[in-house]
Amino acid sequence: MNQEKKFPNLSTMRDKITECVKCAFCKADCVIAKEILWESASPRGKMLLLRGLLDGFGTLTEKTIKSLYQCTFCGECEKDCLAGISLGEIFLASRKDLFNIKRENIPFESDTLQTVDVLCQKIQENYNPLGNLPEERTIWEIGQDIELPETAAMVYFLGCMPAYYRKNARTTAQILRALNANFTTLGSDERCCGSLSFFFGDEATAKELAQYNVTKIQETGAKKVVTSCPGCLSMLKREYPKLLGKELDFEVIHITELLAEFLDNDRLHFQSELQLSIMYHDPCELIHFAIYDQPRRILKAIPGMNLVENPEDAITKCCGGGGGVMSIDANLSTKIAKHRLETALDLGVEALVTCCPACFATFSSAAKEYNLPIKIIDLVDLVLQSLQQN
Amino acid sequence: MGQEEMDEEIIRELAKIVGDDYLTTDDADLVAYSSDVLSSAFKKPDCVVMPENAQQISEILKLANKEKIPVIPRGGGTSELGGCVAWRGGIIIELRRMNQIKKIDADNLMAVVEPGVICEKLNYEAKRVDLVFPPTVPTESVATLGGMVASNSSGLRSAKYGATTDYVIALEVVLADGRIVRFGKPVYKTSSGYDLVHLFVGSEGTLGIVTEITLKLKPIPKYFATAYGLFDSLEESARAVAEIVKSGINPAGLEIVDLPTQKATNKLAKKYGGKLSEASFPEAEGLLLFELDGRDPAQIEADKIVLQEIAEKHGCKEIIWAKNEEEREKMWFARKSVLVTLVRDKPTILIGDCILPPSQLPDLIRIMQDAGKKYGIKVYIIAHAADGNAHYLIPYNINDEDELKRLEALEDEIVHKTIELGGSVSGEHGIGQHRMKYMKPEHGESYEVMLAIKQLFDPNNILSPGTIFGE
């Protein structure tokens, strides 16, 4: 059977794949399945497609490939799976095999793989998926009068979107300075954490980036790394040890964990009142690390802030942007994001707050595209605003 | 079709099957079986047989099917729509002899009965093991279970307990060609193939003759709370009904009686006196008769409070709870005397049975009242409010040609308006012969499907011909 040769990673997971009893419980909370009614887009559909590829009763088509790249890896399907299968691993294995297939062996022109190859190419060259130059990574520092020491106890690992879109990076840095935390950054040496390469199946590049970033961090001597992007948090904290085959000798935390620490040690004092009714959106990657109440504690600590909890049976939980879907099918992501925004509007809140640049971007474009009367605010912006005297 | 005079050969054949003293062609018998409750129907059958079991019925049907002779099954004969009349002559099968209660299975809460068992008799036996067959028809002292299955009757407690169809689990049926078939198993749920059991419930003897019925029973209620609710208007009382039903206290009975009917009953009850004189309604624009039942007095008390609150919130001026069993009897006696007093006044009565979703019950009642005014005929209205099932009771004089014409126009108008609103011509009594003309307007295309199924089961159209299908 040449299937083993063609799909090496998948073949190792054949038993797991055949355990799927097709009960469709995974469709209950899958944001992709709720948006695209075709069965092929649902987690169950994907499992059937993979089984078809391995057992030979299915053939590879563009729709199969596209379906496998339409997944935000939010993890809800794994919670619902009756057979207890970790679908994420399987879908990732399928992307690895798809990435590594010789393009000439695919008898048709695949737009999806075309997009994947272009992006992976960009990351390999410019160490970021956004098409910016590596040296532009420190543009955010302009006008911030922050001197960053060579070595420090803590490294603020920015991540591509905060760095190149600047606002999140500046706000986070300002906050750290206001709290006179002893921190530095990798400056223009910082490279993409490799999350997108990893999710697109380009494991080699992800491993290189991991190796590089870890050595750079160790050079600063820092024992703690803070990041404002849950995607980077997940890569550094969960994937790097697996990719490098060894535990990291530094701790990796999210900005909200840090701020919560400061709050608990009474070193975070909000000055000004912000009269605002908001709904907080949990980024999927923070859910994976069970970081639920730190962001909420911070928001509740801001005077005047009215945090309205979203109903637990809200239709969707994920913003729709993760797992590379924003790059593969932006329009799908914004449609999914629209549901979350509508839930917020139903609650009658003025703004939706999140602490993930990817969610932030997805929600912003959705709000614009469907001109929904709701503000999208980054948690760190609220923190900074309330820290300063008004 | 049935010849004028059924020839001797066939009579002898039938007598061989059931035995001489269970077959009659005596004119007296033919006359006794020439009608059901419908006043204008007098059609003598060619003969009447009283079989003992399914085997005999099977042989009768084999013969009838070969000779294309109509066969009409009949239980208590209390259908009032010509359902068990031999419209085209033929053989009437009197099922009263098959009156065995084969089994009351307390553990399974089930009973297996022959079609001729009287409803009251089943409940008398079921009561010994604290169980009951809930559908309560006023004619329970006479109505047979075979008849109730044939017309899917429900009655005064359908608000909580639904209709006969909810209690039929399995049937033994003899088909037109004589095959004896069993449908359904004595189990509580099944998704195994097509549900032929419910196809037979309500088929009024046109698909086959039911010879054994497996029925579900329920724990018998022990405690009751009955009351009159007086409202300023019918609409308010109907709204209160909707809220009460939604509150979840699940009342067993929820009857509406419109004001003209209350007045007539009170007046006529006095006039005819005797036992009837005890029948008296409190006379309110919107009158509701509630009844809660259950096995736990604490629950009844709790439900009473909820019911009182909801009723008062929806404009109920006064609630008169029955203080004891006797008062409760009196309230139900008044409700059951509505038909009795009206019939005393004028010998023949037309009973309607239209049904709409409960929220549209006020509209249905208004349709009936307006039609009465338009055609100058007194229309009395009572309703099983929680189901949206309203009965118009129209006493009339059978010999008054003009009144008969107006009456037909009136009934057509009420029924067609009901159908236009998406309702049905019959909530519980059935179609029989009298309401055949409404079948096509109500069912449209699916009438053809019903006809196709009838032709499948009874190609020679020998089973109760002249009912359900036809003009």
């Binding site: - | 009659t24 005596d26 004119d27 007296a28 018998d29 006359v31 006794a32 079986y33 020439s34 009608s35 059901d36 409750v37 006043s39 009447v48 009283m50 208590g76 004969g77 209390t78 009032e80 009197e94 009263r96 002899r97 009156n99 001729g116 009251e120 008398y124 004619t139 002292s141 006479v142 005819y272 005797g274 036992k275 009837l276 038909l339 009795v340 019939v343 005393r344 010998p347 023949t348 009565i349």
Partner: protein
């Protein structure tokens, strides 16, 4: 119009047209419970008589059998929602059949017997002496109160004993009463079977005999006689100038007046079911008097049949059924007694010789373990008359 004229039925034409065959009358009819032919149910009978009148239905033998298979218990009158007196219509039907000579042979022969011997048992006064039934001698010929014995009391051993017990009770209570030495049948059987002339003859005879004694109150222990005197006689000869009482009404009166007092009498925990005789209860409305008597006897617990008072089921012995279909009569009685056996109640008490006789015959035939008592036996035992 038919060449046969049904002059009695014509008067009942209105009732026949009113009936809309709702079948409620079948609900409690003792005959319908046993015979399933529709033609034997009250509704069937109405339809048959209606067709006889309207479109010359053929007067077949089945019409005769159906009409005469009925206890005239009036359960159908009680349940008819159209308020029709069904038994009157059936009685009219029987009158027409009898007058047209179409009545069953058994009916004709019984009526001949009554006409010739003045009683249903074809016994003469002399036979009474031989049977020792003739107490005429000890009783005065005139008094305020007259005890009308009736055929059963006169000529049948079982009811005779109960009537004698009533005599002793009255004597014990020092009630003086007269009896008709030459009493003839009250006419009830003839009325029920359709011979109005004979009924009228006995009515006129008995009324004149009673008036001779100057009695202003007449008491009887037989509901058949009670109904004949109370309801049928006035229709034939106008208002009577004497009051008619059943023995239970009289005894109840004496209890209220404190004249009849029961003392502890050794009867303990005797559970009894009281059976309402149709002609006493449903026809004449006497329900409470017998119950008051039973309840005031110490040691006796009165229980009620499932169907009692105006809904009471018939014992099967009335309306001439014991001669037209004796088998059916005892089957009906058996069904009634079954309830006593199921509820393991020792005795059924009634206040009618016909019921007592019919129950006793049925009890023996189906050897049922239940005692059949007449109310006067019970009263007698409990005031020390053995």
């Amino acid at each position: 119009m038919s060449e046969i004229s049904f002059k009695n039925l014509i008067q009942a034409k209105e009732s026949l047209d009113t009936c809309f065959k709702c079948s409620f009358c079948k609900g409690n009819c003792p005959v319908s419970e046993q015979i399933f032919w529709e033609s034997f149910s009250p509704r069937g009978k109405m339809l048959i008589l209606r067709s006889l009148l309207r479109d010359q239905g053929i007067l077949t033998e089945k019409v005769r059998d159906s009409l005469y298979t009925c206890t005239m218990c009036s359960n159908c009158d009680n349940t008819c929602i159209a308020g029709i007196k069904v038994t009157d219509v059936l009685a009219a039907g029987r009158r027409d059949l009898y007058e047209l000579g179409k009545a069953p042979e058994s009916v004709n022969s019984l009526i001949r017997t009554i006409k010739d011997s003045g009683n249903v048992f074809d016994l003469s006064k002399e036979d009474l002496d031989i049977l020792g039934f003739n107490p005429d001698k000890e009783f005065p010929k005139s008094a305020d109160l007259l005890f009308f014995k009736g055929c059963y009391a006169n000529y049948h051993s079982i009811p005779h004993k109960s009537t004698m017990r009533s005599f002793n009770i009255l004597q014990k209570l020092k009630v003086d009463f007269a009896i008709l030495g030459d009493e003839e049948c009250c006419g009830s059987p003839a009325y029920l079977l359709g011979d109005m002339d004979t009924t009228r003859r006995f009515c006129e005879y008995n009324v004149s005999k009673i008036e001779e004694t100057g009695a202003c109150r007449v008491v009887t222990a037989c509901p058949g006689c009670y109904r004949a005197l109370k309801q049928i006689y006035p229709k034939l000869v106008g208002k009577l100038n004497f009051e008619v009482l059943h023995i239970t009404e009289l005894l109840a009166e004496y209890i209220d007046a404190g004249r009849l007092v029961f003392k502890k009498n050794g009867i303990d925990k005797l559970h009894v079911l009281y059976h309402d005789p149709c002609e006493l209860g449903r026809h004449c409305g006497i329900y409470e008097a017998p119950r008051k008597i039973i309840e005031s006897i110490p040691g006796v617990h009165l229980e009620e049949f499932e169907k009692n008072r105006d809904e009471a089921k018939c014992c099967g012995g009335g309306g001439g059924l014991t001669i037209s279909n004796p088998n059916l009569a005892s089957q009906i009685a058996q069904l009634r007694l079954n309830e006593a056996i199921e509820r393991s109640i020792q005795a059924v008490v009634t206040a009618c010789p016909a019921c007592q006789l019919n129950f006793t015959i049925s009890k023996d035939k189906y050897n049922m373990k239940v005692k059949i008592l007449d109310i006067s036996q019970l009263v007698g035992d409990s005031i020390g008359l053995h």
